[in-house]
Amino acid sequence: MIDVIQTALAETLTWKVCGVVLVTAAYGIFVGAIPGLTATMAVALLVPFTFFLDDVSAIAAIVSTVTCSIFAGDIPGALLRIPGTPASAAYALDSYAMTQRGESGKALGISLVFSVVGGLFGVLVLLLAAPQLARLDFKTYEYFWLCVLGLSCAALVSRESRSKGLFALALGLLISTIGLSPDHGVSRFDFGFSELYGGVKFIPAMIGLFGISEVLRNVLWLNRREVPALAVPPEPQPRGRIVRRWLVDPIRDVFGGVFGLLGKRMVHVMRSSAVGSFIGMLPGAGADLAAWISYAVSKRFAQRPEEYGTGSREGLADATTANNAALASAWIPSLVFGIPGDSVTAIALGVLLMKNIEPGPRIFSDPAQQPLVLAIVIAFVLANLVLLPIGFLAIRTGTLLVRVPRRVLMPIIVMFCVLGAYSIDGSTFDIWVMLAMGLLGFVLEGLGIPLGPVVLGIILGGELEHRFIQSLRTSQHWWDFFIRPMSMVLVASVVMLWCGPLLMRVARRVGRRPKGN
C-alpha cells in the first residue's frame, strides 16, 4: 500500500501535472464565471486536449476544471443573479441579495471556503467508499442490471418529468446502436455512410451536445442587453498603504467572518457534504441536484427558514458545500462500475476508455492501476487547494470576468468546437456529427428534455447491449436473468425506481380515504 501511495504521489506531484492543474483551474474559473456556459461544456471543450496528455495529467485537467468552474458559477450568481452554471442556481437569489446589502465579498467568500471544504469531504468519501463498493462481485447479468439501474437513475433523477427522462435515455441508447455491432458483425443505421460503421464518436457528440448547443442558445438571444445592471455596492474608498489596500483589506472583505461561520456550522457542513456526496454517487445525478436538495434540507431544519431566498448565509453555505462535495463522489460509480455519476464524469469515462483504462472493480485491486485511482484523489485535493488562491483572485476580478462580451466569445468557441471535433482523428465527417448533435441538443433543451441521460445512453449503450446479448447467449432460460441474489436486489431497485412514485401515490390515496380528507 505504501508504495502504491508513493507511486501515485510521484506521478501526481510533478511540475507538469501541477502546471496542468493551475492552467485548467484558471480556465475553469473563466468558463464557469461566464453566464450561460456550463461546467460540462468546459470539460467537453477540454477533451481534445486531454487526448494529447498522459493519463494522470488528463484526469487532473478534468478534475481541476470542473472543481473550479462549479465554484466560479457562483460569481455571476452573486453579482448578476444569473447563475454561471446550473449548479449555482439553487442559491443565486441568496447571494445576490447579500450583494445588494453590500456583502458581495462575504457572499463569495462563503461560496469559496465552503466549496473547498465540501470538495475535500467529497474526496474523502471517494477514497473510503469506492474500494468497499468494488468488493462486490458482479457477473454478466448483474452488469446488465447495473447498467439498467444506472440509466434509470439518470432518467428519473433529473428534475424534468419521467417521460422526458425516458425519452432522452432511449434516444441516447439508439444513437449508441449506430454502426457495426461487435456482437453481430452487422452494421446498423449507417444510412450508407461508411464513416458511421464505427458508430457516432463520443467526443464530437459531446462537443456538439454541450458546446454548440449552448452557443446556439446564447447566440439566439445575443441582442438582448448582454449584462444586466451589476449590483455593485458602493465600495469604500481604498485607504492606506499598498499592502493594506491590495492585500489586507480585500482578504478581510472576502474571508472575514467566514471561518467563524465555518466553525459554528461544522455539523451543518457535515450534513450538507454527506447529502452532496450521496447525491453525487447516484448515477446521473450531479452537482446541481445536490445543491437543490441540500438547500431544501437546510431550509427544513433552519432556525429562520423565512430568510431563505432573501440572503441567507446558512442556505448559501449549505448548498455550495453540497455541490462541490458531489463532484468527487460522482467518480465513485464511474470508477467502480464504469457507470458515470453525472455528465462530467460521463465525459471523463469516455476519456479513460480512449486511453485504454477500463474502469471496473479491477481498477482497485490491480496493482498497476491502483496508483491511478489515488492520482484522481490527489488531483482533487490539489484542485481544491489551488481553488482557494485562484478563487480569491477571481472574486476580486469578478466584475471583469462576467462582463466579457459574448459576441466575441461565441465565434471563438465555435471554432474551438469545430477543431476539437476534427482533431480527434482528422475527419471532416466528425464536424458534421458535431453539428447535428449540437442542433439536436438545442432542440431537446428547448423542449425541456434533459441532456444528461442522452449522454449516458450514448456512452453506456454499447456496454448495455453487449451484456444483454451476452446474457441471452449464455442463458438457458429467461429466468436466468433474475435468479442470482445480486440480480434480484438490482431488479427490485429498478422496479422501485420506475414504479415507486406510482405506488406511493396509490398508497397515499388508499391511506387518505378512511381519514376522509
Binding site: 457495426l180 452487422v186 446498423r188 464505427g198 471554432m415 453539428l435 446479448i469 447467449r473
Partner: protein, 492 residues
C-alpha cells in the same frame, strides 16, 4: 492609398526572406512585430488596407514545393491508442520522422472492426502525405460485405510484423491437446463449447472457424462470445472456455501459467515462450493463419514518393535508424512482436494469397451468417424504439392532461434573432466544405471575421481578433497537439 500600399509592400518584403513562414513558430512573431514596427514609425492608427494585407499574408501561408516530403505526413492507424497496432505505428512514426526530416503524425481512426481506418488511409488523396497502416482485417471487409475495399486499393510498401493465431485454454481445463478439444466439440452439439477472443466475425473468430473447417465441422459447431479484444477474453476465461487470439497478447498469461496453448496456426514452431507448442500442421490440421501489420499508400501515389517512402521504411525495418539509442527491431523484440519483413511486390503477393484463403473460409462456412448469431441484431434497437414510443405517449398524455402549461420565462425586451442562430451552423458547414479546399488558416480567419462582425464587433477589431485567433488556433492544434489540419491551395 499610397501609405497603405507602402505598408503592404514592406510587409510583403518581410515575408520573402522567411521561407515556410507559417510552419515556424517564429514566423508569426516576426510578421506581427514587423507590422507593429511599421506602424509605430508612422505613428498612426492601424488602417484598413494594412489590416487586410496582414490578414491575407498570415493566412495564405507559403507553399514551397521542394522535393518530397516537404510537409508533415499523416499516418492513419485503424486501431485504438495503446493497442499493438498503435504501438507499432507510433514507433514507426518516430523513426520515419528522423529519417524523412518531416513530422509524421499518427491519427487513430478506430471503429467498425477497422473498416473506418482502412478506408481513411487507403482512400485518402494519393499525394504521398497520407500513409496507411494496414492489418490482416483488410482482406476480410469485402468478403463480409462490410465495405467495398480490397487489397487492390492499397499500394503495399512493407509489412513489418507477422504473428500466428493460436488456441488457448484455461490452466485447469480438461483438454490437453487439440484432439481432446476437437473430440469434445464433435460430441457436444447441444451444449456448444464457448470460444472468445475478439468481436463476432473478427479475425480470430475466423481463425477458429478455419480450424473447424479442416475437420469438416460447420462454423456454428461452437458458440462465439464476443469480447472487446483478446486481453479481456483471456482475463475472464473459465475452465471450460477457449480463447483464440494472436500470440503477443497471450505472452504474459502463458508465462504466469494461467493459460495453456494447444497449438499455433503457423508453418513452424515459434520462439520462446511458445517453443514447446506444436503447430496445427504437426497435429494433423492443415490450417495456418497469420495476423500481420504493414504500411501502404493509396493506389496512384506518385512514383517519387513511393520510392522515397519505401527506402525509408526498409531502412527503419532493418534497424539502420536509431531514436534514443534504440532501433525499430529492438522495439519489436522488446514489445514481443515478431519482426517479419516483406517488401513491395512480395508483400503484394502475400496479400493476394491470403485474400483468397480467407475468402474461401468465409464463403464456404457462411461465416457472416454464423457471426451474426441467433439473436437478431435489431432486437435491441426495437426494444429502444418501443421505449421511445412509450415516452412519447407519456409526454403527449402529460401535455393534454395538464391544462396549465408553465410558460417559459421569456425575455420581454427582445425577440430571438434567427439570423444570428443560422450563422453558427453556417460557419460549421462552411468550415467542413471549404477548409479542405482553401486551407485551414484562410477559412478559419474568414469565418471568425464574418461571425465577429455579424455579431456586432467593430470591423477592425473583428479583423484583429480573427487574425490572431486563426494563428493561435493553428499553433495550438498543429504544433501543440500535432493535428494534421486541412491543407488547401495556398498551404495551410
Amino acid at each position: 492609398m499610397g501609405r497603405p500600399m507602402l505598408h503592404f509592400a514592406r510587409f510583403a518584403a518581410s515575408f520573402v526572406d522567411v521561407r515556410n513562414l507559417l510552419t515556424t513558430r517564429r514566423g508569426l512573431l516576426h510578421g506581427a512585430s514587423s507590422f507593429i514596427v511599421a506602424h509605430a514609425r508612422e505613428r498612426e492608427r492601424p488602417c484598413w488596407t494594412s489590416v487586410c494585407a496582414v490578414l491575407l499574408f498570415l493566412v495564405a501561408g507559403c507553399a514551397d514545393e521542394n522535393a518530397y516530403p516537404n510537409r508533415p505526413i499523416t499516418l492513419v492507424c485503424p486501431w485504438g491508442i495503446g493497442g499493438g497496432t498503435d504501438q507499432i505505428a507510433r514507433q514507426m512514426a518516430i523513426h520515419l520522422e528522423q529519417e524523412l526530416g518531416q513530422p509524421v503524425n499518427v491519427i487513430n481512426r478506430t471503429g467498425g472492426q477497422g473498416v473506418n481506418g482502412h478506408i481513411r488511409g487507403l482512400k485518402a488523396d494519393a499525394d504521398g502525405y497520407t500513409l496507411a497502416m494496414i492489418t490482416v482485417e483488410l482482406n476480410m471487409f469485402h468478403w463480409n460485405r462490410l465495405a467495398d475495399l480490397t487489397y487492390r486499393d492499397a499500394l503495399p510498401l512493407i509489412s513489418v510484423n507477422e504473428d500466428p493465431a493460436a488456441i488457448f485454454v484455461h490452466a485447469e481445463s480438461p483438454w490437453h491437446t487439440l484432439d481432446d478439444l476437437a473430440q469434445h466439440i464433435r460430441s457436444s452439439s447441444d451444449n456448444k463449447v464457448r470460444f472468445s477472443g475478439t468481436s463476432a466475425g473478427g479475425i480470430w473468430h475466423l481463425a477458429a472457424v478455419g480450424w473447424l473447417q479442416t475437420m469438416g465441422l460447420p462454423a456454428d459447431a461452437i458458440t462465439w462470445v464476443a469480447s472487446q479484444g483478446a486481453g479481456p477474453a483471456l482475463q475472464d476465461m473459465l475452465p471450460n472456455s477457449v480463447v483464440c487470439c494472436s500470440l503477443p497478447e497471450a505472452r504474459i498469461p502463458l508465462r504466469e501459467g494461467r493459460v495453456r496453448c494447444l497449438g499455433v496456426m503457423a508453418d513452424r514452431r515459434q520462439p520462446a515462450p511458445f517453443d514447446q507448442v506444436p503447430t496445427l500442421k504437426e497435429q494433423g490440421y492443415d490450417w495456418t493463419l497469420y495476423g500481420w501489420r504493414g504500411f501502404a499508400f493509396p493506389q496512384g501515389t506518385p512514383e517519387a514518393a513511393v520510392r522515397r517512402m519505401t527506402e525509408a521504411l526498409v531502412k527503419v525495418a532493418q534497424g539502420q535508424t536509431r531514436v534514443a539509442g534504440e532501433t525499430f527491431p529492438d522495439f519489436m523484440q522488446f514489445a514481443g512482436f515478431n519482426l517479419t519483413v516483406r517488401e513491395g511486390d512480395a508483400f503484394g503477393e502475400f496479400l493476394a494469397a491470403q485474400d483468397e484463403q480467407l475468402g474461401r473460409t468465409i464463403e464456404e462456412g457462411q461465416f457472416s451468417k454464423v457471426a451474426q448469431g441467433a439473436i437478431s441484431p435489431m432486437l435491441f434497437p426495437y426494444i429502444l424504439f418501443g421505449l421511445l414510443g412509450c415516452s412519447l405517449l407519456g409526454m403527449l398524455w402529460k401535455t393534454f392532461s395538464e391544462e396549465e402549461v408553465e410558460p417559459k420565462p421569456l425575455d420581454q425586451q427582445s425577440s430571438p434573432n434567427q439570423f444570428y442562430f443560422m450563422l453558427v451552423p453556417g460557419a460549421v458547414a462552411a468550415y467542413a466544405f471549404l477548409a479542405p479546399m482553401a486551407g485551414f488558416l484562410m477559412v478559419t480567419a474568414a469565418i471568425l471575421l464574418t461571425l465577429l462582425y455579424c455579431y456586432g464587433t467593430r470591423l477592425w477589431l473583428s479583423a484583429v481578433i480573427a487574425l490572431l485567433g486563426a494563428a493561435v488556433l493553428y499553433h495550438t492544434f498543429a504544433h501543440g497537439m500535432r493535428v494534421s489540419l486541412p491543407r488547401g491551395w495556398y498551404g495551410w
